[in-house]
């Protein structure tokens, strides 16, 4: 059911072209550094600061409303954070790889080759989110920290270890990328079996022309092995492929394709990883708590969430952590247990817990979309004014600095949110059905859990 978009020569050459990619990267890098600068040097007033407006309104809106639901890891493909580190690691921006790696190139430890660290880091960032999202200086510190960490890690570890194992954003983008109608896959696995060099994973400093092979119609480019430490031939899900197009360039057999496909294709088979299951709970719970803190009427809650370091904040943190890592998983476990007991299924409780957690991927994605629509539609007007006066210094670069704030389509916000949440529930139900069919357990208790969570979100948003 997938449709290959790289069958069109224009699209394929655009994706393979390093210059077009570099241009996009340059724009992103300048924007990123500009955001850090405005955070450090500009006004502390959030809605008049480019850093806050362009990171937490503009970029976040594009990420959660467009990039992730429709392109999976599309943002990772253009993210500027790993770039200078990667250039330093490679010793080049566009040139083919040297024979020997220039830096330590260490392999990431086996015990950490999962997303538990990202779960932890995301949770840590989430606990301070009230301060980060509203204070330009703190946003700048967080972005700069990620930037320098990525650079440092590139000099110690191989490939894009920061992106794969540390970046808090990468954790949930990967999880939700499974639901997107966009993928990179090999066309024919048998071709990979007969390939000796695997330049898609190992990289190649030369063009690899396979002589006398009627299948190929063009040679590969010199290029780097997958920075995401993924073997493209083994890709069955979007979770860890960063869409950097390196393998598209290096495959000597033109065996890599970028396809559109139905939504949720990766979720047809249930998940098997506990770290991903918990990422789903973290995201689900965080979306619900954020609705209460940021959009709710409870001033004391907002104050507790904001006053990092104080006793009320510690209490808020405790509730936050118990909700994400305790209450939600335990309730979910109960639902799974009920279904498993009724079905008298032989599969372990742990495996069925993880399998059904797959349903929380579309549910969580739609929770985040519904939540994000609230503050995006109310704050999108600031994008134009902060473009003209990024630092709040009285500039007017594009003449839009004094554009008055106005809400954007907010009269339609509640119906849209309702549709999103109900759609998410139906999507989660369908996913739970598919998982249940695989493990022969009724999905009904899990659907009940999802319904209750959706009702809670509706209550918080309405």
């Amino acid at each position: 059911m997938s449709f290959e978009i790289t069958r069109f020569p224009l699209i394929k050459s655009l994706l393979k072209n390093r210059w077009s990619q570099l241009l996009v990267w340059f724009v992103m890098l300048v924007g990123f550094l500009w955001a850090i600068m405005s955070g450090f040097a500009g006004t502390p007033v959030g809605n008049r600061n480019f850093g806050i407006v362009f990171v937490w309104i503009a970029w976040w809106a594009v990420l959660i409303l467009v990039a992730v639901p429709f392109f999976g890891r599309g943002w990772c493909a253009v993210c500027p954070i790993p770039l200078p580190g990667e250039w330093i690691q490679r010793g080049a921006i566009l040139e083919p790889p040297a024979k020997k790696p220039r830096w330590l190139n260490l392999r990431w430890p086996n015990k950490l080759r999962n997303i538990w660290l990202q779960n932890l880091i995301f949770t840590l960032v989430a606990l301070f989110s009230s301060v980060i999202l509203t204070t330009p200086k703190v946003t700048a510190i967080v972005l700069a920290a990620m930037f320098f960490l990525a650079i440092g890690m590139s000099m110690i570890f191989e490939r894009r270890t920061f992106c794969r194992y540390i970046c808090p954003v990468s954790g949930f983008i990967g999880l939700y990328a499974q639901a997107a109608p966009f993928e990179l896959r090999v066309k024919d696995k048998k071709v990979c079996l007969s390939c000796n060099d695997k330049p898609c994973y190992n990289g190649t400093s030369t063009l690899l022309q396979v002589q006398g092979d009627a299948r190929i119609n063009e040679g590969s480019q010199a290029g780097y092995g997958c920075p995401w430490d993924v073997f493209p031939g083994g890709l069955t899900k979007n979770t860890y492929c960063g869409l950097c197009m390196e393998c598209l360039r290096t495959c000597p057999y033109d065996n890599i394709a970028v396809n559109t496909r139905p939504f949720s294709a990766d979720l047809a088979k249930p998940s098997t990883r506990m770290d991903e299951a918990f990422k789903a709970f973290i995201m689900l719970g965080a979306a619900m708590i954020y609705c209460g803190v940021f959009l709710g009427p409870w001033g004391n809650l907002k104050l507790a969430a904001y006053s990092a370091g104080t006793l009320p904040w510690i209490e808020y943190t405790a509730v936050f952590l118990v909700f994400l890592f305790g209450l939600l998983p335990v309730l979910f476990l109960g639902a799974v247990w009920i279904g498993k007991t009724l079905a008298k299924a032989a599969i372990t409780l742990k495996k069925s817990f993880i399998a059904f957690a797959t349903a929380l991927v579309p549910l969580g994605l739609m929770f985040w979309i519904a939540f994000s629509l609230s503050f995006v539609m109310t704050n999108v007007a600031y994008i134009l004014s902060s473009l003209s006066d990024p630092f709040g210094w009285g500039w007017n670069l594009f003449g839009t600095a004094s554009l008055a704030w106005q809400p954007f389509l907010t009269t339609h916000l509640l119906p849209i949110q309702m549709l999103v949440l109900v759609g998410g529930l139906l999507w989660a139900g369908r996913t739970a059905q598919k998982a249940g069919a695989e493990i022969k357990i009724s999905p009904v208790p899990v659907i009940v859990f999802s319904t209750l969570a959706t009702l809670a979100m509706l209550g918080l948003l309405l």
Partner: protein
């Protein structure tokens, strides 16, 4: 690539440094987090002082005390330009006129203006409460209070009986309404009047020391400067009254309570307004309000006790 990025980054800082010469940039913050910075500015007489004002938190505004120039709004994350020129040397107070928090009144700075001034400075005069030796921190209960609200309109009917000595500003300013009532009730010229009539006459006496414009100005000043703590209707229950209670252990003064209000002479109120500093968060308005504004405000305060005709 790298140099391109560095140029992009350095550009705004360079532009700011170039454009900033000669203009003083003032950042306003709520008093709790720093107030005005800088809070001391130096200027010379006759030389225009260019200021760029921005707020780092909430909306503020900028005004000079005892000066007619209208306040200028200072908006968060935006710049407002103002140019001031001073004719006379001295210390000028600039302050915030938009309620920005419970400590809004503390948001003040000084402009020290030096220069040549051919006119000799006028000596200051001590305020009336000091001349009268009034202890403005002492309690001032009213020894007598009326039943009901005295009505100046009714008091007009007896105004012809009132000896002229009572109608002077000096008498009005140095006597509390309760003292005035006692003086009037002891005066043989007014012996025919009942207690209620006498109170109405006191109200008339108070009204005769105000003008309609003065009362309107007093009302405006009260709404702008006092209502946030003292309440729109003077009941001591303004939006910041809970904060004041937490700070000082008691709420702001209730101007509608006759037991204390009628024991306060205008000169006493002037002292409290000028000096503030009761340990209650009451601001000192001396550098901000002109003499006339202070008396207009005081005249208005008595409207919480008396029915004065507009």
């Amino acid at each position: 690539m790298i140099s391109g990025v560095l140029i992009v980054l350095a550009a705004p800082l360079a532009a700011r440094a170039i454009g900033a010469s000669g203009t003083i940039e003032i950042h306003g913050r709520m008093a709790e987090t720093g107030g005005w910075s800088p809070s001391v500015i130096k200027a010379n007489t006759g030389t225009p002082l260019h200021l760029r004002l921005t707020s780092d938190d909430v909306m503020h505004s900028f005004a000079i005390g005892q000066n007619d120039a209208p306040p200028v709004d200072v908006l968060p994350g935006q710049m407002t330009e103002v140019t001031l020129t001073f004719d006379k040397p001295g210390t000028y107070i600039y302050y915030c006129t938009r309620w920005c928090g419970p400590n809004h009144w503390r948001m003040r700075g000084t402009i020290e203006v030096t220069g040549n001034d051919s006119t000799s400075p006028q000596p200051g005069t001590s305020p009336l409460y000091m001349k009268l030796n009034l202890d403005i921190d002492a309690a001032h209960p009213a020894s007598v209070t009326p039943i009901g609200i005295p009505d100046a309109q009714h008091g007009v009917e007896f105004s012809t009986l009132l000896p002229a000595s009572y109608l002077t500003p000096d008498y009005y300013r140095s006597h509390s309404p309760a003292q005035a009532y006692l003086d009037l009730s002891a005066d043989p010229a007014l012996s025919s009047l009942s207690g209620t009539d006498l109170w109405d006459l006191v109200a008339y006496l108070w009204q005769s020391n105000t003008t309609p414009e003065g009362l309107a100005e007093g009302q405006r000043l009260f709404a702008q400067n006092c209502a946030a703590c003292h309440g729109e209707t003077g009941g001591g229950n303004g939006v910041f009254s809970a904060y004041i209670k937490a700070l000082a252990g008691k709420t702001p003064v209730d101007f509608s309570d006759p037991a204390t209000r009628l024991g306060a002479a205008p000169a006493l109120l002037q002292g409290k307004i000028l000096r503030g500093g009761m340990g209650t968060g009451m601001p000192s308005w001396g550098p901000i309000l002109t003499d006339q504004e202070t008396w207009d405000l005081i005249g208005y305060l008595y409207t919480f006790q008396f029915k004065l005709s507009p």
